[in-house]
Symmetry: C2
Subunit: 435 residues, 2 copies
Amino acid sequence: MRNEAPPMNALRIGICGNGTVGGGTLELLRTGAERLERRARRPLMPVRLGARRDREDCPVGDLIVHRDLLEVARAEDVDVLVECIGGTGLARELVETALRSGKSVVTANKALIAEQGNELLAIAEAHGVSLLCEAAVAGGIPILKALREGMAGNQVTSVSGIINGTGNFILTAMGAEQRAFDDVLAEAQALGYAEADPTFDVEGIDAAHKLTILAAMAFETRFDFSGVHCEGISQVTPADIEFARELGYRIKHLGIAKETQDGVELRVHPTLLPAQSLLANVDGVLNAVCLEGHAAGPTVYCGAGAGREATASAIVADLMDLARAEGKPCSTLGVDTEALRDASAVPMDKVRCPWYLRLEAEDRPGVMSELGSCLGAEGISIEALIQKPPKSPGDTVTIVVLSNEAEEQALRKAIEAITAMDAVKGTPHSIRVEE
Amino acid sequence: MRNEAPPMNALRIGICGNGTVGGGTLELLRTGAERLERRARRPLMPVRLGARRDREDCPVGDLIVHRDLLEVARAEDVDVLVECIGGTGLARELVETALRSGKSVVTANKALIAEQGNELLAIAEAHGVSLLCEAAVAGGIPILKALREGMAGNQVTSVSGIINGTGNFILTAMGAEQRAFDDVLAEAQALGYAEADPTFDVEGIDAAHKLTILAAMAFETRFDFSGVHCEGISQVTPADIEFARELGYRIKHLGIAKETQDGVELRVHPTLLPAQSLLANVDGVLNAVCLEGHAAGPTVYCGAGAGREATASAIVADLMDLARAEGKPCSTLGVDTEALRDASAVPMDKVRCPWYLRLEAEDRPGVMSELGSCLGAEGISIEALIQKPPKSPGDTVTIVVLSNEAEEQALRKAIEAITAMDAVKGTPHSIRVEE
């Protein structure tokens, strides 16, 4: 139990969760207490901790500890709840309870905001409190603040980025060492970069959650997680990475959101990026996001996308905003929820981009001409082409095509025709290109 | 004259200057009026314009125009003065007058803030108003917001960046096309990237102004422009860029501020950076800044460092902060001026870094051994070395050395000894290295 009451002007913080994120946040608040008080002109004071069990790496100190986490969300002496338990079950209940009892909430929970953010924002607004989630996207990079405030004078036309460090680590290692996906994934799991069940990361679900939040803020739309088209990286091969390099590209797992005349494009997929672009050179577990504003032009933000300290840095930045605002609500998305539009996500059929195609074919005359016809019939032209000689006489050859811009539905039809060609073995593999 | 009074809750803006920055700001406020009002929940309304003469590219519309700019700074119906005239004479008078009459000020004037910011901040604080200058550093990149708010939970240990686009354009073109400094400078002037008098840009004074502001915010110190060590890029040769490349480096004109045990290092100079680092890959007129926080780790911010629209984007972001704060002052540096320390800049003699040395010597035995002795006598060892064969027999050879970390005073002594060597022609050329 605490010995003294917190100072009158303190921002009183209740933390739920004492794992990596909760423990890291508590540590940063404690070790930086003097610095934070100087900058906020008031103390940021953790007062209660909700945790099912004690953990050695998260000493309780003089905090009041609750095994029932909802008690923290209801406690009268808590101004802000920091939700660090993850998931969309109890976390939802905690956040909603806190908001309804007039507390602001800070969270790193991208799934919760992406999937249930519309209801939660409305509740926060109705109760005159804040719901901030800087730590939910791109870890230590203050990307939501840059978008909501730094770009406040801009019409933002696109947001794209490497927003899953695990996937970027895997693609980087596959490219650097010519290793297969499964092999690198196993290493990433051993290093602790990937979960035992890697689905969320490698299939793009985690990136889709983050993209949902970025898009809502960029385009002033409601969260539309179900509108995000999501492709993982497990089909990318070291050969694809090598062919891309030969063509002057790198392959990255990107989240892309673009405002178009037909609605908002929301997509997560492997992407060929020009080798000299900044995003193409962001390697390993780093994250990077590119914002395109009509006045500021493109700006790129890069840094650690995860980790105990980086996540805590973002949570404490949100807490500092709340402390400095002195009770005035801080906007989550930069506009009131009633001003938000529906995202009306563009169907992927209609999304246009250049394409990378890789296929295996018999090494005989006429194949190229037939391939060109299959593409040409759908209005697709060939911008660049690689054909390697067969390894042994009689082997099939690998053909790689870089096409001009085409709608996905046209490409799918062309691929059907190509697959039906006598000389072609198996189904061509396709990856989108961004220029 | 205006026909209608602005709405009660409008943020009433007076703009001084109708050139590139003032005109761009006015245009962004006008074309984005609806968007800005939605986001700020109140109109951002230009009401007065101070300009010595009319300009066709800055239509006056319904603004009240003043030929005496000080009238704008004193006008009772102006909430915020936007200072876009530059310089430290009349601009100072305008800003001071506005602050003393209870108006907040937004400015892109890096010289004014770097050189006179200490007095101006004290005046703003005393009058309970804000003095914001996002546009003064790195144009459209919201770097001051990232540092002051995004990194608010961090002890920032270093800030370094490419903060002058003209210099970066010149170095990039010199490297890409093997052209001499003077040649590229002339092209930059023809393209409008460099001023007729390029001193401010190429000698690093502009970068030193920006570094002064970044360092004050990062380390919570008073502005110390006179403490910045400043070297330009006019001594860098295409050969240096090529040798650096061979050693795995790029040459960039960096502003570097580091907190050390001895005080704050404040320096602007050409710098060898590892080729794979993000800053090394920022080319052309782009700016980029790397912040190193104790919790967030390194984060990098990249974008347009200048230009009409990008600068206006940053000015409008400041105006949006003021509009959203509804009269509550917004802090310039993130702490009160009374909490600021002196920077106590570290003398360059004491700054340690690895070095690049290039020298001309006769092609004869014993030169390398003597060179090694000159360096070794000062405790400097050779990490890498390039010696090219003479172009014709009897010609001198170029020798390039990459040293380990050494204090500048040790390096200067070694260079004196090397210059005195019989075989060495002229004075060795030295450039600092950052790892």
